[in-house]
């Protein structure tokens, strides 16, 4: 569905979002920009794939208490479970990337500035396909 937006690896440690970087001005793009650099001051460079920072800090967060409309996939037969949505600031790339939190993380677990890391998750699944995606997970305190 979104080819090349993240690594195929299921291993949490190696999982990364994939963007592109302009060889001329070093601008980073996510979702990946493969055609033209969008920096108006740039004459245009070669865009190459780059893995984004694994960790970032919460810029803001919210949740979805009502079922979103299609094309979001959810089972109308089951009760609605709110998901948590994060906007995460990546320091090295100087950009904010949205994503759902891993299941179980609620707004009560978060504050602006919380450190999170990107991990693989399941967006939806049917009999034939499991749609994988990226999710943000708070980083455990390291001692």
């Amino acid at each position: 569905m979104v080819a090349g937006w993240f690594t195929k690896s299921d291993d949490e440690e190696g999982f990364r979002l994939l963007g592109t970087r302009c060889g001329a001005c070093s601008a980073v793009f996510f979702p990946r920009e493969d055609a033209l650099c969008r920096n108006p001051a740039c004459a245009g460079g070669v865009l190459t794939e780059v893995a984004l920072s694994k960790r970032g800090r919460v810029w803001s967060y919210t949740d979805g208490r009502y079922r979103p409309p299609a094309p979001y996939v959810s089972d109308p037969e089951s009760g609605w479970q709110p998901y948590t949505l994060l906007a995460v600031e990546l320091a090295a790339e100087r950009m904010v990337v949205l994503g759902q939190a891993v299941p179980g993380v609620t707004v009560a677990d978060l504050s602006v500035g919380t450190e999170v890391e990107v991990v693989p998750g399941i967006l939806s699944e049917d009999a034939d396909t499991v749609w994988t995606t990226w999710q943000w997970r708070p980083v455990e305190e390291e001692r």
Binding site: V2, T62, L85, V96, G99, Q100
Partner: protein
């Protein structure tokens, strides 16, 4: 000054009426023509603000209204810019008038909104950012408004009570507006008791989707004089600017911001630049405004606009509200019409409706919600995918 006259303004009352957008737009157009004191046959150009239904953006705009009013061979234009469609329709009409292509132009916007969250058109369209944000994130419009609201709480100390105050204020004004959908006062307690839609925003913090229509008759100053309107309300500026790269706040419908690695974040930011372009063109500043109509898609977003319009320094929006400055009777009333809080969202009509309100206020005919001695007003909103929108009108 490159001014055009507002000869007429008209609306169809907003609400969930269950009729065709063409009916609303045609009713608004007839009201605007009657207000201008001219007939449909006098109009040699019509500009329709488009909505998207059935996959034909624009089919439902200029031509649809021209056909409903009766084909008469007029120049016709349809523009689509999401929430900024109305401002771009006004801008198009103004450009035709100032260039001498047309003397008098009818501008119309109307919608019959579906119930519930706005959603993208159907089909698998992974090359469409609007489709992707729903498919991958379930990120509805209120989800983005909530991200901004929570960010304000963290940065500026805004509280849910502050957000509720915006609703209380706008509902009080909307109760005085016969075109508004919701015409009853709302208490802070009612806001707090309404269900959370996207934390920290509750149902009464977020605008509803509505049906509605709005129209304007614009003309050259010379045409206005010939038609006995010697001192009409004038449009002095229309701002339709894009953001400047890199855009560093998550913007609908994007999944990420631009990176600020190659170029530092622009100053001012996008919303502020919309206002700044309008001020520059109008040769006036925030201190000259008598009132403002801003896009209160959420209560928290209205506070943001106070700062972006320069009504107060950054971070002090909630203070301005608490002081009563932006209420009717205050120093600079904002959303004297009741805003989207009272109207709901009828996308192509809203930016035009904002200018209708300015027109009535600047004429001194806004009835119980009249801002005393109003001389200058500004509207502000922004359209999906980076369409700026602000209009300055003066009397």
């Amino acid at each position: 000054m490159n001014e055009v006259a507002v000869l007429g303004a008209g609306m169809h009352p907003w609400g969930k009426w269950g009729r065709s957008f063409i009916e609303y737009g045609t009713a608004a157009a007839r009201a605007a023509l009657a207000d201008a004191g001219i007939g449909w046959a006098d109009v040699r150009s019509v500009v329709g603000a488009g909505t998207i239904r059935c996959g034909y953006p624009g089919h439902v705009a200029g031509a649809a209204f021209a056909q409903a009013l009766g084909w008469q061979g007029t120049r016709v234009t349809s523009v689509y810019a999401a929430c900024a469609s109305g401002a771009q329709a006004i801008d198009t009409a103004r450009a035709q008038i100032l260039s001498g292509i047309a003397e008098v132009v009818l501008v119309v916007g109307a919608d019959s909104a579906p119930k519930g969250f706005f959603a993208p058109a159907g089909g698998d369209r992974p090359d469409d950012p609007d489709w992707l944000r729903f498919r991958l994130l379930g990120a509805t419009n209120p989800a983005y408004f909530a991200l901004y609201a929570r960010r304000r709480m963290a940065l500026h100390g805004d509280t849910p009570d502050d957000f509720a105050r915006v609703k209380v204020k706008n509902a009080a004004a909307g109760a005085l507006n016969p075109y508004a959908r919701y015409r009853t006062a709302v208490s802070a307690g009612q806001v707090a008791a309404s269900p959370v839609v996207a934390d920290p925003l509750r149902l009464l913090d977020v605008c509803a989707t509505s049906d509605g229509g709005a129209a304007l008759v614009l003309s050259s100053m010379e045409y206005a004089r010939r038609h006995g309107a010697g001192d009409p309300v004038r449009i002095r500026a229309v701002s339709t600017v894009t953001p400047v790269y890199p855009r560093t706040e998550p913007g609908l419908p994007d999944i990420a911001t631009d990176s600020a690695v190659a170029a530092g974040p622009p100053a001012p930011g996008f919303r502020e630049s919309i206002a700044r372009a309008a001020y520059e063109e109008a040769a006036l500043g925030p201190e000259d405004l008598s009132l403002a109509e801003v896009y209160d898609l959420s209560t928290a977003l209205e506070l943001q606009w106070y700062e972006d319009l320069g009504l107060c320094p950054e971070g002090e929006g909630a203070g301005l509200l608490r002081d009563g400055a932006t209420a009717l009777g205050g120093r600079i009333p904002v959303n004297a019409s009741g805003g989207l809080a009272s109207f709901g969202e009828a996308v192509p009509a809203q930016a035009i409706a904002q200018v209708c309100e300015l027109t009535w206020q600047l004429r001194g005919t806004a009835g119980e919600r009249q801002v005393t001695g109003a001389r200058a007003g500004m509207t502000a909103n922004q359209g999906l995918f980076g369409h700026g929108s602000a209009v300055v009108a003066v009397s």
